[in-house]
């Protein structure tokens, strides 16, 4: 066996230049493709890590119902926005308590835009 392997190594038989060039081309293509895939994946992961960091920072703010000044990841929506209660499928709006009969329940919304296309919102009574 060893003898035959040695013989094979010493053999002068080979491939054509064309065959070799095609093989080299395929191998180069494969390696280039792998490199670009790893590169773009690492870019995706880095971008994802960056947006996760922003998201967690924004999430902390919206869970505390506050907006840090200078942070563009959280928006505060303030206006005459009200929350209404409907009981037993009745279309009429109900106040939560008698105190709210004359003064509607107004809320402020906190919107975290850190993940594109998926804003996360919380709210609190003004």
């Amino acid at each position: 066996m060893e003898h035959k392997a040695l013989k094979k190594l010493e053999s002068q038989g080979g491939e054509t230049i064309a065959e070799l060039l095609v093989a080299l081309l395929i191998a180069a293509l494969a390696l280039t493709m792998l490199a670009s895939m790893i590169s773009s994946s690492s870019k995706v992961i880095l971008r994802s890590m960056d947006s996760m960091e922003k998201y967690v920072a924004a999430e902390n703010q919206i869970s505390a119902h506050e907006k840090k000044s200078g942070d563009d990841n959280v928006r505060e929506l303030e206006g005459d926005f009200t929350v209404t209660l409907h009981v037993n499928g009745n279309g009429d709006a109900w106040a939560l308590t008698d105190d709210r009969l004359e003064e509607p329940l107004k809320v402020t919304y906190y919107v975290a835009d850190a993940i594109k296309g998926k804003p996360v919102v919380s709210y609190a009574v003004k």
């Binding site: 994802s48 929506l77 206006g79 008698d98 919304y109 998926k118 996360v120 919102v121 009574v125």
Partner: protein
């Protein structure tokens, strides 16, 4: 196998193409695995935002209800007014008039019930609604403004509406009814509600829609279950358990006075006169109910048996129907 290896060794043909294709295959597999892993990581962040939105919708609503309902006293005052108009004849016997047996002028005393719903706090601020002697029905009554907490207090005191949607709040039974009189075995009064938002920014109001159910038990315990109603099959729910503090005071005010005296047979042998007296008894019962949140829990962990849960949803962490504990 050995034969094939030997054949290969003996072969004079090259294997560069085969090896290159093998390298291509290996590189493709590794590349696909790396790209898939990276995409999955990015996708998880997107899914995380959806899950968090469900949590924030329900948690914000729970916070809002706790802030608005917990510790707010609701006072319901019931007034019973009884008028007795009594005629007493005084007949002349010898030189003195003797008092006869009193009789009711109309044959019976007249009683009127009045229910006053009030949320006046200790500083005397707040609304006051006089229901009057004509009782109202739930939920179609027009005389009262729609206040969730006041309705719950009315239902706690007077019970749930009957088959005709009426609450017996102007009867002797309702007047006598204290919290203990409802009986611990009484079935919980249940209903549903939803919270909606007027915010105009695209999609936000839809994301924050909340459905809820209330379950009012005979001991006054109020269970509020909240869950997201954003059209998603994934349900996140929170249960608020509220315990009541119940105070009832009673005061009686009696006023009596002579309405008039009428003489009869004045110029005859047997003169007598009739005195008409009016006695007004006003009994006022004031019940104050203050619910306080004693627990907020996920799913039905803290909900008592019978609490309403979202239809068709499985809220128990371990699976199965949500029956409460």
């Amino acid at each position: 196998m050995t034969g094939k290896t030997m054949g290969k060794l003996r072969s004079r043909r090259g294997a560069s193409l085969l090896a290159a294709l093998f390298v291509f295959l290996v590189c493709s597999v590794i590349g696909i695995v790396v790209v898939t892993a990276a995409t999955a990581a990015a996708g998880r962040a997107s899914k995380l935002a959806e899950n968090d939105q469900r949590y924030f919708s329900v948690a914000s609503a729970a916070e809002l209800l706790t802030q608005e309902l917990s510790g707010k006293p609701v006072t319901i005052q019931r007034v019973k007014t009884t008028e007795e108009i009594v005629n007493t004849d005084y007949t002349l016997e010898g030189s003195e008039f003797q008092r006869g047996t009193p009789t009711y002028a109309d044959g019976y005393p007249t009683t009127q019930y009045l229910t006053v719903v009030s949320t006046k706090n200790s500083e005397g601020e707040g609304a006051e609604w006089d229901v009057g002697v004509d009782c109202y029905t739930f939920p179609d009554h027009a005389t009262l403004p729609r206040s969730f907490l006041t309705e719950l207090a009315i239902r706690l005191l007077f019970g749930a509406p009957d088959a005709h949607g009426e609450i017996a709040c102007n009867t002797e039974e309702a007047f006598a009814l204290g919290l203990a009189a409802r009986g611990s075995g009484a079935e919980a009064d249940k209903g549903e509600f939803d919270l909606s938002h007027s915010v105009t920014e695209l999609g936000i109001a839809e994301k924050l829609k909340i459905k809820g159910s209330y379950s009012l038990h005979s001991d006054g315990t109020l269970i509020l279950t909240l869950w997201n109603d954003d059209g998603d099959d994934d349900i996140f729910s929170l249960v608020l358990t509220m315990q009541p503090e119940f105070q009832e005071t009673e005061s009686t005010d009696v006023t009596a006075g002579l309405m008039g005296r009428t003489w009869h047979n004045l110029f005859e042998a047997n003169p007598y006169y009739t005195e008409t007296e009016k006695t007004t008894t006003i009994v006022t019962k004031t019940a104050t109910v203050t619910w306080k949140v004693i627990g907020i829990g996920e799913s039905s962990d803290v909900a008592p048996a019978g609490a309403l849960t979202p239809e068709g949803s499985d809220l128990t962490p371990g699976g199965g129907e949500s029956e409460g504990t």
